[in-house]
């Protein structure tokens, strides 16, 4: 937890998911293939939402609760360990 300041102004303190589970906004979805991953962490560096979780051994996981499906991780991945595909429509699983 960040230290709280007494000044009354527009200061925001970090919490998980202040806007709710923004993963529901997703149209496209990143899919991770851990066999291809070389642990370069480019996806972790570039993800604008902090939705790539970095493990202790530098392997990664995608947090689908907050991933909005922008596809930056797939674009940045040099070994195509992350690919992007259309999200299944909710409630209409084939």
């Amino acid at each position: 937890m960040s230290k709280k300041y007494k000044v009354v102004t527009g200061i925001s303190y970090p919490i998980d998911g202040a806007m709710g589970k923004t993963g529901s906004w997703r149209v496209m979805k990143p899919v991770f293939d851990k066999d291809k991953c070389v642990k370069c962490l480019r996806c972790w560096i570039f993800c604008p939402e902090g939705a790539i979780k970095r493990n202790k051994d530098d392997s990664i996981e995608i947090d689908y609760d907050y991933c909005k499906g922008c596809g930056i991780c797939a674009t940045e991945c040099k070994v195509k360990a992350i690919t992007i595909e259309r999200e299944q429509k909710r409630g209409k699983k084939k």
Binding site: Y5, V8, G10, I11
Partner: protein
């Protein structure tokens, strides 16, 4: 005190000296006439090694204020300076600095707004920024500029205030006119003005953001807190002026500088360079037996409503404005009348004078007072307008 130096120089170079002696960690500024020699002055101190902070070269005044907001938000003491059109270009970021409660200090050299391109003294640039939340001083001598710059850091950084401060002084009449000013030792300044300790800051070790989306009820709290801070400044500005007097034996007034007001039947209210010139006029009027006093307004925001009411208890008021809120009247005139509403029966007479840098001499000020005393005035008057009597 015996080691004090007397520096004979222009308002801008003396302001530069004061700014550097306050030890800001960051100065970000863009040159504009008539402020240019102030930022040149600081650049000279960079070259000589006397100023050791960051001096950021930016591409506009909007960027200058943005850089100041960034540096102040990162917890650094910050100074800048501008004038007229430069100040107007900053307008959006002036609101930002005040709403984010950042104690940035800025000199604004009051200059005409164009078109009708003109670089002389006129206070409409500062007046146009009245509602940004900045505290506003108006100075009338180079010594007062020096003293006010140092005092402003202490006022702005007070945890009960935390608002940016704009120190205004008239173009050329002060900015480019040499006058002596006593410069204390650096150690004395350091004793008066302790190191800046930010009351909130952007810090990677303690991650926060500022300026995010915010709901209506929280927004109202931010505005209310700014208003409370401005009201606190009505008490803290005089306290700091008193401390300064104790340390340096100099006093330029607090919210007002009062001159021969005790027995006055008429009190003249004016600001800046006209305020200084008014003293000579008062001396002459007194020789003629006319009981006129001077209350030179030093602080436009927060506006000292209670002080104005006190002035009106025994005297009628005469207000000279080197500005006009077009479509209404002089800004100080309307503020003074607002203070007195339902509180006083004093008559208030307003004059617009000296727009576009037109000279307002002590003779003019004497005429203004005599006209008012004779009752030959309307509520709101244009003094010395070409072709009008």
């Amino acid at each position: 005190m015996k080691n004090d130096n007397v520096m004979i120089d222009t308002g801008n170079y003396i302001a530069a000296k004061a700014a550097v002696m306050a030890r800001p960690e960051v100065v970000a500024a863009y040159p504009i006439t008539p402020q240019t020699t102030l930022v040149e002055g600081i650049a000279n101190y960079v070259k000589s090694g006397e100023y050791k902070g960051e001096y950021i070269c930016v591409e506009s005044e909007h960027s200058a204020m943005s850089a100041c907001i960034g540096s102040s938000a990162a917890g650094s003491r910050t100074f800048t300076a501008t004038s007229s059109h430069g100040l107007l270009l900053m307008h959006e970021m002036l609101h930002w600095a005040a709403l984010a409660r950042l104690p940035i200090i800025m000199c604004n050299i009051n200059r005409v707004i164009g078109p009708g391109w003109n670089i002389w003294a006129d206070e409409n640039d500062g007046i146009a920024q009245r509602d940004t939340g900045w505290i506003q001083f108006y100075c009338s001598s180079n010594q007062e500029i020096f003293d006010t710059v140092i005092q402003s850091f202490k006022i702005a950084e007070n945890s009960k205030i935390l608002l940016p401060i704009m120190i205004n002084y008239n173009a050329f009449i002060l900015s480019h006119t040499s006058m002596p000013a006593i410069i204390p030792d650096q150690k004395e300044i350091d004793d008066f003005l302790p190191k800046f300790s930010a009351k909130w800051k952007l810090d990677v070790k303690n991650p926060i953001t500022h300026g995010n989306i915010i709901g209506t009820k929280y927004y109202e709290k931010i505005r209310r807190a700014m208003q409370d801070a401005q009201e606190n400044a009505l008490k803290i500005i005089p306290e700091v002026a008193k401390d300064w007097k104790k340390s340096f034996n100099r006093f330029h007034g607090d919210l007002f500088e009062k001159y021969k007001c005790e027995d006055a039947e008429y009190i003249l209210i004016s600001m800046g360079a006209i305020g200084a010139e008014s003293k000579a006029a008062i001396n002459n009027l007194r020789k003629e037996g006319l009981k006129v006093g001077l209350a030179r307004l030093r602080v436009l925001r927060p506006f000292p409503n209670d002080e104005v009411i006190k002035l009106s208890k025994k005297a009628d008021l005469i207000v000279i404005d080197r500005n006009i809120s077009v479509g209404n009247q002089g800004a100080v005139f309307t503020e003074v009348k607002g203070a007195l509403y339902n509180k006083s029966d004093a008559k208030v007479t307003g004059f617009i004078a000296g727009l576009g840098g037109k000279d307002v001499t002590y003779k003019d000020i004497e005429n203004i007072c005599k006209k008012t005393i004779k009752g030959k005035t309307k509520d709101n008057n244009w003094y010395g307008f070409e072709g009008e009597k």
